[in-house]
């Protein structure tokens, strides 16, 4: 039986691909979590700013969930994203094969799908509140927040996908 042997350059190439794959996953996972929790904090700010009538401090502070979790998560994921994204960008510029690799394109495509699903499942809930006029302005602002945050993410992903396909 002939066992195919890998030479040193193939092994280092494989290690490089795994490292690139891990970098892509870390960058986009931290980005996804950052966007979600930034939106959670934005919703809380909207709720507090648009309280329907004058409330005591205790009432105002209890209008929405405590943002400690979101802030703690953001304190971790934001620097992780910025570092990983910078490293990823450098890798993409130095190694164009990574840009049109199947794994990178697959991750981008999955993120596009995830973004669409997030928007499609989140916005109808706010639209119901908006149309029933229970919290029209706050619902409108929350829809605008989702549209801005995930719209920017979607535009970036499409831009990156275009580059990948065109290369």
């Amino acid at each position: 039986m002939i066992v195919p042997m890998r030479d040193a350059s193939e092994e280092s190439d494989l290690a490089g691909q795994i490292a690139d794959g891990a970098l892509v996953l870390v960058a986009f996972a931290s980005l996804r979590v950052t966007l979600w929790h930034a939106s959670v904090v934005a919703f809380r700010l909207i709720d507090l700013a648009l309280a329907p009538e004058p409330l005591t401090i205790a009432e105002q502070l209890n209008q929405a969930s405590d943002p400690r979790w979101s802030v703690s998560i953001l304190l971790v994921t934001l620097p992780v994203f910025l570092i990983a994204f910078r490293m990823l960008s450098a890798r993409l510029e130095n190694n164009p094969s990574l840009h049109h690799g199947k794994f990178f394109v697959l991750v981008l495509a999955l993120l596009v799908l995830d973004t669409i699903m997030t928007v499609v499942t989140t916005i109808p809930g706010f639209l119901v509140s908006f149309l029933s006029e229970t919290a029209a302005l706050s619902s409108l602002l929350k829809i605008a927040t989702i549209a801005t945050v995930y719209g920017a993410f979607f535009a970036y992903l499409v831009c990156e996908l275009r580059l990948s396909v065109s290369q």
């Binding site: 930034a38 904090v41 401090i57 009432e59 979101s70 934001l78 029933s132």
Partner: protein
């Protein structure tokens, strides 16, 4: 970095920093959570005292003249009554109003938060919980048959 990546990374960085600053700004101070817990304990204590008074009334056919009588009365299978404030240690204020009613007072840190009301439950609006209280010293009036306070006609007025 390409322009699109630079722009997007800057957008996420700005969004994240704003969210962190905004989150710190809107965080509930720790003392509010502690004060809510202590107020809840005060309410539980008053409820337990009212319960003990109902039992006392059934046994003695009379309301106690002070809370120490209540502590002396045996209540097998129940936890010892907390007759004083969990924070200050001051005894709860008990006053007989008539031979069939009495009032219990406690000093609350915070005003009771309104119970969330769904839009389809509008009939319950305007009917606050009998345990609704303002911040500061608040007295609940009870009759000798019930462990929940009687509706307070002065509810909504500021007290201190």
């Amino acid at each position: 970095m390409s322009d699109a990546r630079t722009t997007f990374a800057s957008f996420v960085a700005a969004l994240g920093v704003c969210a962190i600053v905004g989150g710190f700004f809107t965080m509930e101070p720790a003392w509010i959570g502690q004060a809510q817990q202590t107020d809840l304990q005060r309410q539980r204590d008053l409820s337990a005292i009212a319960n003990a008074i109902v039992v006392f009334k059934h046994k003695q056919d009379n309301l106690p003249y002070d809370l120490s009588k209540l502590a002396e009365s045996p209540r097998p299978g129940t936890a010892p009554l907390a007759l004083s404030d969990p924070e200050t240690g001051q005894p709860y204020d008990y006053t007989r109003v008539t031979s069939h009613s009495y009032k219990l007072c406690a000093a609350f840190k915070l005003e009771t938060l309104p119970t969330p009301t769904a839009p389809d439950r509008t009939p319950t609006r305007g009917l606050p919980s009998p345990w609704t209280h303002s911040a500061g010293t608040h007295c609940f009036v009870f009759d000798d048959q019930s462990t929940t306070p009687l509706p307070d006609p002065t509810q909504g007025e500021a007290r201190s």
